[in-house]
């Protein structure tokens, strides 16, 4: 019981509650993923057998999606577009956040509020006009045509995240670097950015996930393999006959498209935690 627990030791019921709770949440979240993984490994004939553990394991769906020219192209588009959007949003977000945190200028609060309001803007509302605009400008079905909206919709998020991190860095460090002979840009690069690394990774992950998972813009602003990303490409999968759903292929494609994001988050998560503890300014 909690009353006779030794100090410093979490009471038994507390631990039980947290462990059982965590387990429940993990199972709830991972069950659909596990189901898709199971589907992707079943041979076509077994797809409708309703078993959670596949009776026979086959990689035919994976072979099928990579045999089709459409999927590898879409994967390449996804990786390129998401990576470039992330790079641009994080670099611009860093500069903007630094200016907002460190410089005194008129309309600082207004800028932050405006950025937030852009993040709240429903993307579906701009799809129509954007479609027309992109057709006219020649951006339709190109990489920049997707990178631009991704960057725009994720920049506010990046700015807010990074501004919070920059605020935690003592101003003395900038000033020390400036007195040590650094230009403002050098002080930013050598002192501020390394210290804000956890924030940079956090922002990068959020932006990357947004761009990687987006379906709306990808479906509306692309038409060919030139710029179509995986989420949109999956929607265009066809079965071997018009009466057959390409369930197996969709499942296989979903697994392939989930893996990079999961891997990236796991890698960066370690960096984030490491960065947070190593960056302690006072101790």
């Amino acid at each position: 019981m909690s009353a006779d627990a030794r100090p410093g030791e979490t009471p038994f019921w507390d631990r039980l509650f947290w462990r059982a709770g965590s387990l429940l949440v993990i199972v709830y979240a991972l069950l659909p993923v596990a189901w898709i993984l199971s589907l992707s490994l079943k041979p076509a004939a077994d797809l409708a057998d309703g078993r959670f553990i596949p009776a026979r394991i086959s990689l035919e769906h994976y072979r099928a999606i990579f045999a089709d020219a459409q999927f590898p192209a879409a994967l390449w588009n996804s990786i390129g577009i998401a990576a470039l959007s992330t790079l641009l949003a994080v670099v611009l977000g860093m500069l903007a956040a630094y200016a907002i945190v460190r410089l005194r200028f008129r309309g600082r609060g207004l800028m932050l509020a405006a950025a937030l309001s852009i993040a709240m803007f429903p993307p579906v509302a701009v799809i129509g006009p954007l479609f027309e605009l992109w057709r006219t400008l020649g951006l339709y079905d190109t990489w920049p045509g997707l990178i631009l909206p991704y960057m725009t919709f994720t920049l506010p998020l990046a700015i807010w995240t990074l501004a919070a991190f920059f605020r935690e860095i003592p101003w003395d460090l900038d000033q020390a670097a400036r007195v040590d002979g650094a230009t403002p840009l050098q002080a930013f690069r050598h002192v501020i950015v390394p210290l804000a690394a956890p924030g940079v990774f956090t922002a990068a992950i959020l932006v990357f996930i947004f761009a990687w998972n987006d379906f709306l813009f990808a479906a509306a602003l692309t038409s060919t393999n030139a710029a179509r990303t995986v989420p949109a490409a999956i929607a265009f999968f066809t079965g071997s006959s018009r009466f057959e759903l390409p369930t197996g292929s969709i499942a296989a494609a979903s697994v392939v498209v989930t893996l990079p994001v999961t891997a990236m988050v796991l890698i960066f998560q370690r960096r984030i935690v490491a960065g947070l503890t190593a960056g302690a300014v006072k101790g």
């Binding site: 000033q175 020390a176 400036r178 007195v179 002979g181 230009t183 002192v191 390394p194 190593a278 302690a280």
Partner: protein
Amino acid sequence: MAEIVLDRVAKRYADGTEALKPTSLSIADGELFVLVGPSGCGKSTLLKLIVGLERPSAGTVRVGGEIVTDRDPKDRNMAMVFQSYAIYPHMTVRENLSFPLRLARLSRSEIDERVTRAAALLELDGLLERRPAALSGGQRQRVAMGRAIVREPAAFLLDEPLSNLDARLRMQMRTELARLQRRLGTTTVYVTHDQTEAMTLGERIALLRHGQIQQLGTPRELYQRPANLFVAGFIGSPAINLLPARIDGERLLLPMADLPLPAGLYGDLPPGIRDVIAGIRPQHIAGAGPEADDTNSDGRFEARADVVEWLGSEVHVQVEIPVPDAHWPSALRHALETGSTGAERLRVTARLGSDTRAREGDSLRLAIDPGGLLLFDPDTGERLGD
């Protein structure tokens, strides 16, 4: 190596706060100059104006004869030590020390040599590969000093460099700092709010208040001949006793005693009755023998010990003196930061020898030494006399 000259430098922020009133100041080459004052007095602002982290709203800053008022901090070749040390947490001690040299694009061998020399000077040899998180407070302080030294700058600017250390370490570092400065012979501006640090370190001290220099001089001048009530109250520990007083002919009437005015003070004062504020340092109040032994009663009084602090080598005794309300000059109220409520009592501190056996509640006979008396104008707070 450079002389620093400020010519009517002032700083007013956009929101109208006047951080520094027009100030002219000249700091000699190789001097250890101390800026001291209570928090918010503008001393850090003055330092930042010298180093270039702030731009003055008026006036010019000259270093070694060159006008640097609008020069970027990176082009001023000055080194600064911050109160927070501001050592870069993501770099090792070696990287911290070499950072300014790498920015200056010195050769690798030159950087190594200078870092090694600075590390040896500050006894950081064994710590070069450590990160700041693994250092103690004193070691961090030395890293901050080291980063300033490696550059061989024109001037050191130290902003309360010791205030984050514990008392013992602070004393030790204070001595080391003074020795280091003398050895390097680099012009140094030292900012502190601690009057003891100011007194022990400074060749010359500027005492600031409300963005204005109250007095500039050697520690001895500030202590013995304070320009006004504020300087008198700020310099010296325990603080000077300030009392309302009245000059009547050749005698000074204090609330608890009266005594003949010392000649030096009397000579310059206009004759007649006038109110003044008397300042008496605690060491100028001594224990007196029993009343029967008195040859005269000049400056002698009896009071009850309120607080007795035994420090080993000396005893600080606080006694309470009743002061009639009518006697309170406004400058004194201002200096002591007291309200105006009816008849009041004033606390007077006496510094007595350690053989004093006084206990709290005891009645003591004390004698004022007229030699250490200071008199101030009750309206302006300026010191009277020569």
